[in-house]
């Protein structure tokens, strides 16, 4: 899906990313982990085309990423950010319907089929009850669910998540992650996620990319990569493995 060759990026004179080489396969759940300031968000912004690289090449589906138009990219890629800053009182239904925008023509209403997709997306995210609620009047976690519904309505091939479920309660966060992994398995969607919660990253990722100080320190499946000693080295924290179940961070 993505191939990155020798990518460098800097703000002013400080290099945020140094010599990144990476291949991202289609249909996998990938988590980017690393301490604050390690370059996770910058890497994601470069992959989504939101930032322009300094040197190096990013290929998306065997074509240079910046050769795609915004309109084409929106039909394949979407991003959910941690915070949706919406100042206007749209209804949640209107927000989710906007997910179909890349596929619709101006001045034409959404088709029956589009509305079906919108409805489905709201059903699986349990947001149908907010249909008529104003987006400015629901809680942060509820808003993240509505935004997730919008992203699902877009039926993306690549879904980027930047701490997208951080405001949800634990039950909805698990539910959303399960939903996303299901998409990866059943619809071959590629998910690239920035996650601070190591427990979740361990449990849900097919592959983990560990960044520190702008360099990739390792990419592998979590079982191989996220050993207690490696996590200690990267984050300077202690974790314990529960055999066959996952990983627990001990304060």
């Amino acid at each position: 899906m993505f191939k990155i060759n020798d990518l460098w990026f800097r703000y002013d004179s400080k290099y945020i990313l140094k010599s990144i080489n990476l291949t991202i396969k289609k249909g996998s759940f990938i988590s980017i982990i690393g301490p604050n300031g390690s370059g996770k968000t910058t890497l994601m912004n470069l992959l989504t085309g939101n930032l322009k690289k300094d040197t190096g090449e990013i290929f998306f589906l065997d074509k240079l990423l910046h050769a795609y138009s915004i309109e084409t990219l929106a039909q394949v890629i979407t991003v959910i950010y941690q915070k949706a800053n919406i100042q206007f009182p749209f209804t949640c239904l209107e927000i989710v319907m906007m997910g179909r925008n890349p596929f619709k023509q101006r001045m034409k209403p959404l088709s029956e089929k589009d509305m079906e997709i919108v409805y489905e997306a709201m059903e699986v995210t349990d947001t149908l009850k907010f249909t008529d609620s104003l987006i400015t009047e629901i809680s942060g976690g509820e808003m993240q669910r509505v935004i997730l519904a919008r992203a699902l309505a877009q039926e993306p091939q690549v879904l980027f998540l930047d701490e997208a479920f951080s405001a949800m309660d634990i039950a909805y966060r698990l539910r959303s992650l399960k939903l996303i992994s299901q998409l990866v398995k059943e619809k071959n969607v590629t998910v690239i996620s920035i996650m601070h919660d190591l427990n979740m990253a361990y449990a849900f990722s097919d592959e983990v990319i560990v960044l520190k100080e702008g360099k990739i320190r390792g990419t592998d499946c979590p079982q191989n990569l996220m050993t207690a000693s490696f996590i200690k080295e990267i984050f300077d924290i202690d974790v314990y493995h529960v055999k066959g179940k996952g990983l627990i961070v001990m304060p």
């Binding site: 949706a84 239904l93 001045m107 509305m115 409805y119």
Partner: protein, 354 residues
């Protein structure tokens, strides 16, 4: 929980409701025009007014033969152009308010916040000043205001621009800086014009009196086309309301669309200011009323705001023209009523931010 059918029915009902409101406002507007054209110091019979309008519109001069010329002149040359200008300017200001608010992602923004109105006013005042003191022939005020607005817009976006990116707060700050400089410029020109200052002051206060068919024609070309373009791209404006990063992943080229809307909304503002001087708060009050009572969906909001803006400015102008003994410039009226409303919204908005 709602079923699919309920949701799609509800959507249809909402569309119908907006359509009804649109139709209702249009009908109200026509009733209003017919009522207002009958109001004024000169007493003209309703039947005569209808005859004058019909005769003129249908190019049948023989209908006008039995009516005295003064009445024809009052209705056709004075009242009607003024009424239509009021509607056009009100609609234009309301729509440019909607657009600037969406672009700046701030429900309190309008043509004034980013300095475009002041820029247009400065251009016009400069033209008036030159006409009074410097040159022999007359500089046209309207194109000068237009140039002033566009130059201000370019200047403001240059100042606010950082690495090709226009942030809302930068834009508002740049707007404030530029418009305070321009306001001082206007004051300077006012002081320099000595006893002739009344020409500038009266223009600046915002008035719809003595508007001619020439103004109507100019207004209708630019304002109506501008509004239609805004309606055509209104769903892109919806997406822009979600933020720049988000618009990109919903397939909207935010840089391109933002520029387009900035130019169109500035053009509408410039034409409105050229025609009628500074008329404040229409662009703020109308969109706000609609956002909270009807919808914030720009596809509905823009056309309805155009109608309601036209209606309200016509109401305000009639009020200032007819009901009081002294004619008050309509800009003073809208600011007197709109200002407190602005304060109310501001306090309410502040309470909502935690």
């Amino acid at each position: 929980m709602q079923s699919r059918l309920e949701i799609s029915n509800k959507l249809k009902r909402r569309q119908k409701k907006s359509l009804y409101i649109g139709v209702m406002l249009s009908v109200l507007l026509i009733i209003f025009i017919l009522t207002v054209v009958n109001m004024g110091r000169a007493d003209i019979k309703v039947l005569d007014i209808l005859k004058i309008v019909y005769g003129k519109l249908a190019f049948k001069p023989f209908i006008l033969e039995n009516i005295d010329e003064a009445s024809v002149a009052i209705v056709w040359d004075i009242r009607l152009p003024r009424i239509i200008t009021a509607i056009l300017v009100g609609g234009g200001l309301a729509v440019s308010g909607v657009v600037f608010q969406a672009l700046l992602m701030n429900p309190l923004a309008d043509s004034y916040t980013i300095g475009v109105s002041t820029g247009a006013a400065f251009g016009a005042v400069l033209a008036i000043y030159f006409n009074l003191f410097v040159i022999e022939y007359t500089l046209p005020i309207i194109p000068c205001a237009f140039v002033g607005a566009i130059l201000t817009l370019v200047l403001v976006s240059k100042i606010a621009n950082r690495n090709g990116y226009l942030s809302s707060s930068n834009l508002i700050i740049a707007g404030i800086i530029v418009s305070s400089i321009l306001s001082s410029g206007i004051s300077l020109l006012k002081s320099a014009s000595g006893e002739q200052v009344s020409a500038i002051v009266y223009w600046l206060m915002g008035s719809l009196s003595a508007r001619t068919w020439h103004h109507v024609l100019l207004g209708s070309i630019f304002i109506i086309i501008g509004i239609l373009i805004c309606i055509y791209f209104s769903e892109d404006l919806n997406i822009l309301c979600l933020g720049e990063r988000e618009s990109r992943f919903l397939g909207v080229n935010s840089d391109k669309i933002r520029k387009l809307f900035f130019v169109i909304a500035s053009m509408i503002t410039a034409v409105c200011v050229s025609i009628s001087g500074i008329i404040g708060f229409v662009g703020l009050v109308v969109p706000h009323m609609l956002r909270f009572s009807l919808t914030t969906d720009n596809r509905v909001l823009i056309p309805i705001a155009a109608l309601l803006g036209g209606l309200l400015l016509l109401l305000a102008d009639t009020f200032s023209r007819v009901l009081l003994n002294v004619e008050i410039p309509v800009g003073v009226m809208t600011t007197l009523f709109g200002g407190p409303f602005f304060i109310y919204i501001f306090i309410k908005n502040n309470n909502n931010i935690h």
